[in-house]
């Protein structure tokens, strides 16, 4: 942030080294400088606009209920009552909701990593009859929208007893266990790894599974990280399938609780605990984003392409 502000103030900005300037034409340079200044101003404005709602949720979570609707930037009085309400009075409590979200997101991430890397490797490297046709089926699944699947999948899970009690967790993980995107992404990555290493391992007598586990998987780190980040984030934020399958409030995830408490009572206008829930739902993704930002960006292109 300080860098940006510095570049706004001509006194703080060091003159560009003369070696660079001759490359750019003088006209283009004049343009570029003015344009850059306007761009910086607009970006700061937009970043502030982006920052306000999120910080507002944090601030409000520490306010009292009457204070929560006042436009003051400091809670007055500062209180943890909202958080205490979310921890003690909410049913299920905020920690329980957090655990539900984390457990489901972790389970779905693991299944996608295991099933996605195995299948991705098979589609990239192993030769078997019908491989191309089966891979087309994987791609076709990406074209089938969830709304077409809602009724039949719900009825199948219901018939299998996976929409009642604890089995709801199994139901939701089953539906999300493997995404065609994970297989597709792993396959594309395995295709870029040279075959030499694998062949050396095979000559040394390693079986297919050992070759996959010891040689290929350690080389697929970036692809695994991308699939993990994409699946964890997607499942953590997931709304549609959890809403349909996790109908017992004890099994709610954070997004479901935000909907459920609003629509079925709990905290319609009790804002501080609601804001605490929002903070809990947003924070893990923010942390993940800060640490693994580079794995978020390519996944965008992939999800976009696969609709």
């Amino acid at each position: 942030m300080t860098n940006v502000i510095a570049s706004l103030d001509p006194r703080l900005t060091p003159e560009p080294p003369p070696a660079v300037t001759p490359v750019v034409s003088p006209v283009g340079d004049r343009w570029a400088r003015r344009r850059r200044r306007i761009a910086v101003l607009l970006m700061i404005a937009y970043a502030v606009l982006m920052f306000v709602p999120f910080s507002w949720s944090v601030i409000t979570s520490f306010k009292t209920l009457p204070d929560s609707v006042r436009m003051t930037f400091l809670p007055d009085p500062f209180t943890t009552a909202g958080w205490e309400y979310a921890f003690n009075t909410l049913d299920p409590s905020l920690p329980a909701l957090f655990l539900n979200s984390a457990a489901i997101a972790a389970a779905v991430t693991v299944t996608n990593l295991v099933l996605g890397s195995l299948a991705g490797y098979a589609f990239a490297r192993l030769r078997f009859p019908g491989r191309e046709a089966l891979f087309l089926i994987v791609l076709a699944t990406l074209m089938i929208p969830d709304q077409l699947r809602l009724v039949p999948v719900y009825l199948m899970l219901n018939g299998a007893g996976l929409t009642r009690g604890f089995a709801q967790y199994i139901g939701v993980v089953t539906v999300l266990a493997i995404s065609g995107t994970s297989i597709f992404f792993m396959r594309q990555y395995f295709l870029t790894i040279p075959k030499d290493l694998e062949e050396a391992a095979r000559i040394d007598g390693a079986g297919f599974f050992t070759t996959f586990l010891r040689v290929m998987l350690p080389l697929a780190g970036p692809a695994l990280a991308t699939v993990a980040v994409l699946q964890f984030q997607g499942t953590w934020n997931g709304f549609f399938w959890p809403l349909i399958i996790l109908q017992d409030r004890a099994h709610w995830t954070l997004p479901l609780a935000l909907a459920g408490f609003r629509l079925a009572g709990g905290f319609t206008t009790n804002w501080p605990p609601q804001m605490a829930t929002i903070v809990m739902a947003t924070l893990p993704i923010l942390v993940l984003y800060l640490f693994f930002q580079r794995y978020f960006v390519p996944s965008v292109a992939k999800t976009g392409m696969t609709g």
């Binding site: 860098n3 940006v4 570049s7 283009g28 343009w31 344009r35 850059r36 761009a39 910086v40 970006m43 970043a47 982006m50 709602p53 999120f54 507002w56 949720s57 436009m71 490797y121 589609f123 192993l126 030769r127 078997f128 009859p129 491989r131 089966l134 089926i137 994987v138 791609l139 076709a140 699944t141 074209m143 089938i144 929208p145 709304q147 077409l148 699947r149 809602l150 009724v151 039949p152 009825l155 199948m156 089953t174 493997i178 065609g180 953590w236 934020n237 709304f239 954070l254 997004p255 479901l256 935000l258 909907a259 609003r262 629509l263 804002w271 929002i278 930002q293 960006v297 292109a301 392409m305």
Partner: protein, 319 residues
């Protein structure tokens, strides 16, 4: 297959090779077994099951009750709430898609400038796109309350006369009023998705040669002219790609509508979308045969929209 063929050929080398091939094939099938079974049941199977359910009066416990043929389909198409849902969804898509695209392109042009802090801005602008839709929507509901931050901020900024001129009161209930509810969601989603579209556009912007702008500058073109004459037309493939992705997403609006309006798309069905109607049919009416028909109609609508766009825009996104 390979095993039998080479076993017949007799040579021990060939035989060993054949066994190895057989083992490779078996390993391949084992590696893809679980995902393929899940896809077969939950994806491919669900299409056929859906078609089957949709022609029945379906009981959640006992299954098919009365054969209805195409009656469910006609009932869906004739239902005024469904028609309302289609109208609302089309309105949302028609307004939201260009708005989010324009905002995404605008942000992409901004963060494409060579300035310090460029990475920070890119990261910040993308964040709403990856945060929980439920969290952001509830936050939005809070900000747009009659006594919320938005109304308070516009009063503090002294811009209320402009809003009054447009017909909005000082304590406008944005999401509680059927005339402003959907527009409020449009603005919310334009904000959250603009980051994603920014990244799509950015990739294409970076591919445009700098020399073109140099040449335009020498010819005396202004920055605005350069944008409309060079940048915008050269981004054509990106426009098509983003538009296709956006339209598919727009037609599937659900989370925000459900969070703000509940299962009925309140107020006054103004937030009822096509996918929300599907949820409404299944989990409020508990009429699964009817809901299955809704699902198939939605699939046909969305799929034809996709095909139409591919026909109009040509190139499909490469896998």
């Amino acid at each position: 297959m390979g095993v039998i063929a080479s076993a017949r050929s007799g040579s021990p080398v060939m035989k060993r090779k054949g066994i190895a091939q057989g083992r490779e094939a078996i390993t391949g099938y084992l590696f893809i077994l679980v995902p393929m079974l899940l896809f077969l049941v939950l994806n491919i199977g669900s299409i056929f099951y859906s078609l089957y359910i949709s022609v029945w009066q379906w009981n959640i416990r006992s299954g098919p009750e009365t054969f209805l043929g195409t009656k469910n389909y006609f009932k869906v198409l004739g239902d005024p709430i469904f028609q309302q849902a289609v109208t609302n969804t089309l309105y949302y898509t028609v307004v939201w898609v260009p708005l989010a695209m324009a905002l995404g392109l605008f942000l992409a042009v901004l963060v494409n400038q060579k300035i310090r802090g460029q990475k920070f801005f890119r990261a910040a602008f993308y964040f709403p796109a990856i945060a929980s839709s439920a969290a952001i929507t509830v936050l939005w509901i809070f900000l747009l309350e009659p006594d919320g931050l938005f109304n308070a901020a516009r009063a503090a900024l002294g811009v209320n006369p402009i809003f009054a001129f447009l017909g909005y009161t000082d304590s406008q209930n944005w999401l509680g009023d059927s005339s402003t509810a959907m527009n409020s969601i449009i603005i919310l989603n334009a904000w959250t998705t603009s980051g994603t579209f920014m990244l799509f556009y950015l990739a294409s912007l970076q591919a445009i040669s700098h020399e073109l702008y140099e040449a335009a500058a020498i010819d005396g073109a202004t920055a605005v002219q350069a944008f409309w004459r060079i940048t915008f037309p050269l981004l054509k493939p990106a426009h098509y790609f983003v538009a296709t992705v956006a339209v598919i997403g727009g037609l599937q609006l659900f989370d925000q509508a459900y969070l703000a309006g509940g299962v009925d798309g309140a107020p006054a069905n103004s937030m009822m979308t096509m996918v929300l109607y599907l949820y409404f049919a299944a989990f409020k009416l508990f009429d699964f045969g009817y809901a299955a028909a809704v699902g198939i109609i939605l699939f046909v609508l969305i799929f034809s929209a996709t095909l139409l766009q591919r026909r109009l825009f040509g190139g499909t996104p490469s896998w």
